[in-house]
């Protein structure tokens, strides 16, 4: 009987996890997942591999274990089969739940409190993305290392065995491979020892030194952004942010509910649960249980690094901090159960209020996240099938909406099976909500003139993506009369734009194309005066070794003001004001010339610049 209870104690949280978040287990990839899956796609040597694993990416983050190695190795072994990735996420979280229950039991002395804590944590809707979107595995794995390190600290404090201390160190150091949030672990260890085991406090101090070094090295390698959503604001806004995250920890994230409720219901529920928790802490503190404040400390310490992110508040930022309040709630439930009918009723009522707020949001967002990923799967696998049928043609997608673009196109999943030439139909920008901070939709859209030209040469297959199955509509699409003037934007690397380029250009190298000393192209002319011609591309270091490189542009025979690319400006963006007389013309003849060329030993060609995009704006 005892064995059965013990087994049930361990198994109940994982079972509940599966029941609540099953859509997460069966989800596919989406959005950032594709960037990580393709992180090692172009590696040619060990140096490239090291950069892929340790180079700062996405807001300067360096998460080799939870993002780089996890995705690169997973993709190499399983390809685009998402299930092994999802199983890894869930198994890691099962370990987290076991650790959370075990730590809760050790801290409170109550097995029931530990179990309740794990269940309350699972009910929080901040679990949805960590368990439903593979890119957020970093949170799950970071939680694992934090909890494991803390577990070993507790064992060290209980037994005095030095080996636990060193196991704690190992888990702590490994945690830096999962997420930078790991750096707060020393504060957690210090808070615990100060409040409960002062004798061990000094043993936590070396941990701070490691976190300090990590911060210094990370800041040197990838300084935090000073502007935009990820800029840090050390102002009073941090308190407001903390307030938001508190409400998301004791109620549903974003205070969202799929149920139609009067406006006062959720704030009232959040107030009730908060009052219950704080009363319990006050009562425990009044009776000398200083450890009660550790649970609040856990919540605040794990939130501290994201509190300055005033303009980027995300639901999964409370995923790990919420465990502190879950421990407190579990403890309160266990204590109230033994304290008599009144306390028992009150605690159960509060837990029910919490569950009624959090669970509908968790279930609805879990399903929502799953359904998006399945739409993305239909798109990506449909394009793969279309490419197999039409290997020599570019694929043009018609009917892509906001959800599909930001989750299934932006990170170019098609390159994972070697397909670069996938575009959106002209006019798609009208169906897609703009998010300039995430990406530029224009770079994905094939201009109308290029489409007309490509269709005439049978270089494009057009698919309607509105349904669950991609539908080949090339014949209809080709029959629709469309504007076939040269576009205002020419992607020089694209094979479809080749008809606009003069004979001087070298063949496309996939995502770029070299020009010799001089090259010409046709491009659309602006409708009104005051526009500029923008050139963007790359200029290799070899080309800039002898100093600035002069770039001369002429339009319809008139030479524009010259510009130069200076050493260090490898990714160049040049702007040339256009003469007013070109406005209203159907097209312009553009000639680009550089002041010198290079001829590397490995390439006998005269190389000028790498393009890039030429655009009239």
């Amino acid at each position: 009987m005892i064995r059965a209870r013990s087994a049930a104690w361990w198994v109940a949280p994982p079972l509940l996890c599966l029941i609540l978040y099953w859509p997460g287990l069966t989800a596919w990839f989406r959005a950032d997942d594709f960037a990580w899956l393709g992180a090692g796609l172009y590696n040619r040597n060990a140096h490239d591999l090291l950069i892929s694993i340790f180079g700062p990416r996405a807001q300067g983050t360096i998460r080799p274990l939870s993002e780089r190695i996890f995705f690169m190795l997973g993709f190499r072994v399983f390809g685009l089969d998402a299930l092994p990735f999802r199983i890894a996420v869930f198994v890691t979280h099962f370990a987290n739940l076991a650790l959370a229950a075990s730590i809760g039991r050790r801290l409170t002395g109550s097995a029931a409190a530990g179990l309740c804590a794990a269940v309350l944590w699972l009910a929080n809707s901040s679990n949805t993305l960590p368990l439903g979107w593979t890119s957020v595995y970093n949170q799950v794995l970071c939680g694992f290392f934090l909890l494991l390190a803390f577990h070993f600290l507790l064992r060290y404090a209980e037994t005095g065995q030095r080996s636990y201390y060193w196991w704690q160190w190992a888990a702590f150091l490994a945690g830096f491979g999962a997420h930078e949030l790991n750096l707060v672990y020393p504060a957690i260890a210090a808070a615990y020892t100060l409040l409960s085991k002062p004798r061990f406090f000094r043993a936590t101090l070396p941990l701070f030194a490691v976190s300090g070094v990590y911060v210094a090295v990370h800041e040197a390698a990838a300084p935090g952004p000073k502007t935009g959503g990820y800029a840090m604001h050390f102002t009073g806004s941090m308190l407001r942010t903390l307030g938001n995250y508190w409400t998301w920890s004791v109620g549903p994230t974003f205070l969202y509910s799929p149920l139609v409720l009067p406006k006062w219901v959720l704030p009232a529920g959040v107030g009730l649960v908060s009052a219950g928790l704080l009363c319990f802490v006050a009562w425990k503190l009044s009776r000398g249980w200083r450890l009660a404040s550790f649970f609040l400390a856990w919540h605040v310490i794990l939130l501290a690094p994201v509190l300055p992110l005033r303009d980027h508040q995300t639901e999964y930022y409370v995923f790990l901090p919420a465990l502190g309040l879950a421990w407190m709630g579990g403890w309160a439930l266990a204590e109230a159960w033994r304290a008599g009918a009144g306390a028992r009723f009150a605690s159960i009522a509060l837990a029910a209020v919490y569950a009624a707020m959090a669970l509908p949001a968790a279930l609805a967002t879990s399903r929502w996240s799953h359904d998006i990923s399945i739409r993305v799967r239909h798109l990506v696998e449909g394009v793969q099938a279309a490419h197999a049928l039409h290997p020599r043609q570019a694929i043009l997608l018609d009917g892509v909406d906001s959800e599909l673009f930001w989750n299934g196109v932006l990170d170019r999943p098609f390159r994972l099976f070697g397909l670069d030439e996938v575009y959106l139909a002209p006019g798609s920008e009208r169906r897609i909500e703009s998010h300039p901070d995430l990406g530029d939709i224009a770079g994905y859209i094939l201009p109308s003139g290029v489409v007309a030209s490509g269709l005439a040469r049978d270089e494009i297959a057009v698919y309607d993506v509105r349904g669950p199955r991609l539908r080949n509509i090339t014949s209809i699409y080709a029959a629709i009369p469309r504007d076939n003037r040269p576009p205002l934007r020419v992607d020089a690397a694209s094979l479809l734009a080749q008809y606009l380029l003069g004979p001087e250009w070298y063949p496309s190298d996939g995502d770029h194309r070299w020009m010799p000393r001089r090259a010409t192209l046709r491009i659309g002319a602006p409708g009104a005066p005051g526009h500029k011609l923008y050139l963007s591309g790359d200029c290799p270091d070899e080309q800039l070794r002898e100093g600035p490189l002069d770039v001369t542009v002429s339009v319809d025979g008139s030479t524009l003001t010259a510009a130069s690319i200076h050493p260090g400006e490898n990714a160049f963006h040049l702007a040339f004001p256009l003469p007013d007389q070109v406005a209203g013309k159907a097209e312009m003849q553009v000639a680009i010339e550089v002041s010198r060329v290079i001829r590397p030993a490995s390439d006998p060609r005269d190389l000028g610049l790498v393009f890039g995009v030429i655009e009239v704006k």
């Binding site: 399945i374 239909h378 099938a385 698919y463 309607d464 014949s475 029959a479």
Partner: protein, 185 residues
Amino acid sequence: MTHIYRVRRGAAARLVLPVLTALLLLVPAACKRKKVKVATDEETPRMMSVLNVADPKADPQLVKGFHGVEASAWRWTEKQFTVALRPPFGSAQKGGRLSLKLTVPQPTIDRLKSISLSAAVDGSSLPPETYTTPGDYMYVRDVPANLLGGDSVRVDFQLDKAMPPSGADIRELGIIVFSIGLESK
């Protein structure tokens, strides 16, 4: 103050149980998961002469200016909207008739008082029609045979005014359209 919970087995051993259970629970998911059908629909569709704008097959011919399908039957338009239609058999000799089934809703008349609709077939204008009361209408115009010679024609519709985006609806709203078609005379 901390309780020391005494246990007989080590932490690693106790982690094994939930992890093994988890693996056992996940095996069925791995075995039973459904294969997603990824084949594409390669059946060559024909351009249509008559479009029910709610029909997903009509989507590629709704070139611009249409909002999403509502009530599985109709769409709001913007101030300008465009379709591509296949000239029906014989229309290149006898000429054709363009028809558009529409509704002018009460809020449009309340706000705009009247609304005029005109059309152009491959750039050649057809006479406008003005609606001053809400209701269901059919905009019908003859199209000369010389405009219907190709595989498809572009029909541009234009309203003289539309309801601009507002707090209640962020879309520009013109009229409600059910179908647009070309038939031979």
